[in-house]
């Protein structure tokens, strides 16, 4: 995989510039935590990265999750690999999934603790379950890198641990927007702090403590 980079990237809503210009490079195998108070521009930066790097096969797990509420958990996870099958195969799957796909998805769901929900519509699940379905889709996609916006915000401690472990094992290269600073420092090796639409901190996580990051808030 080639290096992922942004040069002089900016974002604005109408006339108002909300982000940048900023430069950022993501080396393969590098896991970055994006931190900063809400409204600082983390989500904007993530969606900017997605726009620029989408063609290189990055997976996206947005804050609003992007699940299709009428489809089952299986189908929502299967969406992660739509691009690897021809159209007719996907259409048949919509009516009747192939066994080999079910066998591929099931262990993933079991690991995330939602195997029993495999055939429930995503719209009927709780917030925490839905977040795990979105994580399942990202895991199943097995893309070149992961861009995730608050991937465990709706999960309690042990569940958050499970999901973070699964995501970081599957994606050595990732950018994760996090509000839990301890988790961010533990699962990522580089921390980027965003403040007022600019990069305020960019350090290896080994050199930082949660206290250092509180300055951002």
């Amino acid at each position: 995989m080639s290096q992922l980079a942004l040069h002089d990237a900016t974002a604005s809503y109408g006339d108002r510039a909300v982000l940048g210009p900023l430069d950022l490079t993501l080396a393969p195998g590098e896991r970055v935590a994006l931190v900063g108070k809400s409204g600082a521009g983390k989500s904007t930066l993530l969606s900017l990265m997605h726009t620029h790097w989408r063609q290189q096969g990055v997976a996206l797990m947005p804050q609003e999750l992007g699940l299709v509420p009428t489809l089952t958990v299986f189908h929502n996870v299967f969406i992660g690999r739509l691009h690897t099958h021809p159209g007719w195969y996907n259409l048949i799957t919509l009516a009747r999934p192939f066994r080999r796909d079910v066998e591929a998805v099931m262990p993933l769901l079991a690991r995330l603790g939602i195997a029993d929900k495999c055939w429930s519509p995503a719209g009927e699940l709780s917030g925490g379950q839905r977040q795990r379905v979105a994580a399942g889709r990202a895991l199943f996609q097995a893309g070149a890198a992961l861009l995730a916006d608050e991937p465990v915000s709706a999960l309690d401690g042990p569940q958050a641990e499970v999901v973070m472990t699964a995501l970081t094992e599957a994606y050595p290269t990732a950018v994760l927007a996090m509000h839990d600073l301890d988790l961010a420092l533990r699962f990522c090796d580089r921390v980027i702090g965003i403040s007022d639409g600019a990069i305020a901190i960019d350090q290896p996580s080994l050199r930082l403590s949660a206290g250092d990051l509180l300055a951002l808030y």
Binding site: V68, N90, Q141
Partner: protein
């Protein structure tokens, strides 16, 4: 006291209708209308199911044409909905749905003859235009976020199927099944122009004075529509769809010479055909417009405005019948039954029956339009009123109606009524085929005189009128800030 814009609009419409009443011919011309009515009533209470094969074929053909036509229309409509952002698609759809099924049938009859294709296309084409519009609206309302998470390289069809169509699926299904019910009515009415569906058998039963058969046909038709949720099941649907095209009946073979002649000769304006060139076109067109289009237009407008106001009045009277704020359990059931009958009887069928009873004038048309459309709006209003929660000490009876319920329902009521304005206009034009001098009358006479060129111009004018009313009603809704709802659209 200053009146609100909605009240002023209402008063304006009522004044206009009263003015129209002045110009309308509403006489009863049959010698003894009550005797006819009694005979029909006796037929309904003593239906004659003896001619089972006759009645059975009528129902079977009605179903077959409805299923085939609606399925084709839905398929084409979905494809068109996906291209609905292009102006060309939108214009095309607006145009095909502005022409009534019966006009399409009259056109196809001229070159396909009594071939099943005539009936199938007459339903499929206008329905495709309606499906395209509503499907596009439904798809537009889906959440765009899932599409953003699709992996790069996902095919167009896969992406669409897994995100937008999957999200919209429940709405697409419910709208399509609602349209199937409309399709049954359209199919039944196509019989009146000669296709082998219910209308055809009804017309011949009337002509032979067999009121027992009329009763049997009508009762079966109501049963069919009232029980539609029981027999239209997702698992049975593939079976119906496969069987339907084989049950359309034989009809006459298509004469391809006729098809060619229709397009290359018949619909070319007469002066051009005779080689008079553009100079002959002016007098031909002005004669057509002055003596047919304008009188037809005038009568269509007059009839529509009267029917619209009567529809509204009837709806306001009928909705308490099914509203829990006014009726008990028993009364509610009876009310539901009445409204089901009113709204499942197509205007055309109702007008046809009333015309047999009262003789030709505008009266049967006005009453038929008001009964059918009033039934539909009354049903929707009643449902809406049941969502209203009143305080515990709210007044009862007339005071509750006037002070609690109607003020809350009046906005939705006007919105629904304006939605039906275009539909009432479409139907008014078509009722002309029965002999009332609206646009349909002149279209039908031109066809009978084998002047297809004139018929095509008149149909075109009717389509433009429908589009104009649609635009006007949309402006009025926006002006009065009446909310939009897809369900309010209808047939």
């Amino acid at each position: 006291m200053r009146y609100s814009p909605t009240v002023r609009t209402t008063l304006g419409f009522i004044a206009l209708a009263l003015l129209c009443l002045w110009f309308a011919d509403l006489s009863i011309t049959t010698v003894d209308p009550w005797r006819e009515l009694t005979r029909l009533f006796l037929g309904l209470v003593q239906p004659d199911f003896a001619a089972v094969d006759f009645v059975g074929v009528a129902i079977l053909r009605t179903l077959a044409f409805a299923f085939t036509g609606v399925a084709l229309g839905a398929g084409a409509g979905l494809l068109l909905a996906l291209a609905f952002r292009y102006r060309l698609t939108r214009t095309l759809c607006a145009f095909v749905r502005a022409i009534h099924e019966l006009f399409w049938a009259l056109i196809f009859l001229q070159f396909f003859g009594l071939h099943p294709l005539t009936g199938v296309l007459a339903i499929a084409i206008p329905y495709a235009g309606i499906f395209a519009k509503v499907y596009a609206e439904i798809l537009d309302e889906t959440d765009p976020h899932p599409a953003r998470t699709l992996p790069h390289g996902t095919g167009w069809v896969s992406g669409l199927a897994f995100t937008r169509i999957s999200q919209a699926w429940p709405h697409l299904v419910s709208y399509t099944s609602y349209r199937l019910e409309c399709g049954l009515r359209s199919s039944a009415v196509l019989g009146f122009v000669g296709l082998p569906t219910l209308g055809y058998y009804l017309e011949s039963s009337f002509a032979q004075g067999r009121y027992g058969s009329v009763g049997a046909l009508l009762i079966l038709f109501y049963l069919l529509i009232a029980t539609i949720r029981l027999w239209v099941r997702p698992r049975l649907l593939p079976f119906y769809l496969i069987a339907a095209p084989f049950l359309l009946g034989g009809g006459m073979p298509i004469m391809w010479d006729n098809v060619a002649r229709f397009f290359t000769e018949d619909i070319i304006p007469a002066p051009l055909r005779r080689g008079e060139g553009a100079s002959g076109l002016g007098p031909w067109l002005s004669d057509l417009i002055l003596h047919q289009a304008l009188p037809g237009l005038w009568n269509t407008l007059v009839l529509t405005q009267i029917a619209l106001v009567l529809t509204g009045a009837l709806a306001m009277l009928l909705f308490p019948l099914i509203s829990r704020h006014f009726t008990g359990r028993l009364g509610g059931t009876a009310g539901h039954l009445l409204l089901v009958i009113l709204r499942s009887t197509p205007e055309y069928l109702l007008a046809f029956i009333l015309l047999q009873l009262w003789g030709p004038s505008m009266l049967p048309a006005v009453v038929a339009l008001a009964l059918h459309n009033g039934g539909i709006i009354g049903h929707l209003l009643g449902q809406r009123s049941n969502q209203i929660t009143l305080r515990a000490d709210a007044p009862s009876g007339l005071n509750r109606y006037a002070y609690e319920i109607v003020p809350r329902l009046y906005g939705p009521f006007l919105a629904l009524l304006f939605y039906r304005w275009e539909i009432i206009m479409r139907e008014t034009a078509i009722l002309g085929i029965l002999g009332i001098a609206t646009l349909g009358f002149f279209v039908n006479s031109a066809i009978q005189e084998i002047r297809f060129d004139r018929a095509m111009v008149l149909i075109l004018i009717t389509a433009l009128l429908n589009i104009a009313v649609d635009i006007l009603a949309r402006r009025l809704r926006a002006h009065l800030r009446l909310r939009h709802s897809v369900q309010a659209q209808g047939c």
